[in-house]
């Protein structure tokens, strides 16, 4: 995903002479080299200084530039929270804060590197938009969308090596709208980010039981397509939310709220990260499993219910 981001940003920079990327000593690696070489004035490594990264982006955008701030998700969101709130959101300045490795992507590096409540925190801010693409193709489209935004955006990316999942999507990527990747009649699965791959596998398993399954990419978490979710809850007898995010303030919590507000009568199952720091290590899937987010646990719970 970070390669897709870097490639796309380079393409945008070729068209938009006012595009800047400000990084806090973390870069989207080799794929950024071309950008850096061709536009050295517009690739700024501000140093290990996330607060200044955001403030400087605000100043650039207030001069009419398109500014992207980029670092590891935890550092992009938590350290400079007040700069994001005051400089970007309160002033409503179009800056994209890119958090790479959202969720548990840095699975071996411990809780300091796990952005497990970033969507909730960023969604709580007025004027902020939140986008979390599920694969490299959505990352490209999301990056273009961010570069056109009139206000601040949090772009939550995975890390590297995520497979393409949306090549056969039934609908185009549209900011603020649900995107059906598959359409069925009985069950709908709502998900976002790289855990979509597991959500699709679970969808296939459910189809083996004879039910048909819709898989929906909720790439825009804010503004959330509440109407689209309400319709999905109406159209299916069973709805499942799978997200790599805390149960507090993420898509699960919001879907429950929408279900309540719309008198939904489908059954609703939500699978999120626990509201807990687990202090465990391993692969990203190992961490998900420790949080109860693995295909077997999810299927078991769905079958028992």
């Amino acid at each position: 995903m970070r390669d897709a981001f870097a490639r796309t940003l380079y393409q945008i920079a070729k068209e938009n002479p006012k595009l800047f990327i400000v990084v806090a000593d973390i870069s989207p690696a080799a794929s950024m080299a071309l950008f850096q070489k061709e536009f050295p004035d517009r690739f700024i490594n501000i140093g290990v200084a996330e607060q200044s990264m955001i403030g400087v982006c605000a100043g650039l955008a207030m001069r009419g530039c398109t500014a992207f701030a980029y670092t590891i998700a935890t550092f992009a969101v938590y350290r400079p929270f007040e700069q994001i709130r005051d400089d970007l959101c309160y002033q409503n300045i179009p800056v994209t804060v890119v958090g790479v490795g959202g969720g548990m992507a840095y699975s071996t590096l411990g809780g300091t590197h796990h952005a497990q409540e970033d969507v909730a925190v960023m969604s709580a801010l007025p004027n902020m938009s939140v986008i979390a693409p599920c694969d490299p193709l959505e990352t490209e489209l999301a990056t273009w969308t961010c570069s056109q935004s009139k206000g601040p955006v949090y772009l939550r990316l995975g890390k590297a090596g995520e497979p393409v999942l949306t090549a056969d999507a039934l609908e185009p990527f549209q900011f603020g709208k649900l995107r059906y990747l598959r359409r069925g009649e009985d069950v709908c699965i709502l998900s976002y980010g790289p855990i979509m791959k597991m959500a699709m596998e679970i969808g296939k398993k459910i189809e083996e039981t004879g039910q048909t399954v819709s898989v929906i990419s909720v790439h825009t978490l804010k503004p959330l397509d509440k109407e689209g979710i309400a319709l999905a809850l109406k159209a299916h007898s069973k709805a499942i939310v799978i997200e790599e995010h805390s149960q507090e303030g993420g898509l699960s919590a919001k879907t429950k709220q929408i279900a309540w507000e719309n008198n939904a009568d489908c059954r609703l199952f939500t699978f999120s990260l626990k509201d807990s720091f687990l202090h465990t290590y391993g692969s990203q899937q190992d961490i998900w499993k420790a949080h109860g987010l693995d295909a077997r646990s999810i299927l078991n719970e769905l079958l028992i219910s």
Binding site: A49, Q51, I54, V56, G59, D87, Q91
Partner: protein, 271 residues
Amino acid sequence: MNGGVEKNRYIQYRKRILQLSQKIGALHIAPAFSCLEIVDAIYFKMMRLNSLKPVKYLDTFILSKGHGAMAQYVVLEHLGILLESDLNNLCQPSGKLGGHPDYGVPGIEASTGSLGHGLPIAIGMALADKVFKIDRMVYVVMSDGEMQEGSVWEAMLIAPNLGLNNLAVFVDSNDFQVLDRISKINPNFYPIKEKVQSFGWEAIEVDGHDSWLIYEKFIKRKGKTPLMVIANTVKGKGVSFMENNPIWNFKSPSKSEYESALKELDGGLLT
């Protein structure tokens, strides 16, 4: 030395702020009195105009010590950028001015109020101007208390790396934070000038209540790097009982205090 015209203006500013304070429960008076001459010097002597009618500036001013808002408001009122009615409706539901500068209000180029935000924003603006070769200065007024924020030191490290000689920061150095003297709470903050210079800035020290002296030092700058002017000031300057007394950081005077403050200002104690 401040000339007669300036001296009169500085007294009028203070009287206006005191007058407005009578309608509001509490106001940051002393922090405004501390930086009035600095703000005035920047607007009247340093910033270049784009147009005279209406008054529009080519250069940018950011009041990073947002709690000094009253100083900026009265200067903007004097310039006609803010209207008398804007100030009369200060902190009222019908008005547009609050206790801290808010982006989008005429003459206000950044929302401040939380300390340590103005300098990084100014760096972004100055950087854009450098890259696109626009001849424009960015002026920032920061407080010495504000310099305890980590973001200020981050930004101080960064600005010289980016070659921003189009950035000038004025520190309102009154040796006070909310509760006490900085020299008591944080004695290792001093000396400031040497610290700033060691970060790659041009740093100069000046009497922060003498606008001509501030200007003189400013135009004599080398101008190769970002500039920090450490302007030594008195918190609450101009009203004896408000000077160097931390309770006047955020407080409106009673009627009798107000009257005696006006009398002092009319007596021309302000030098």
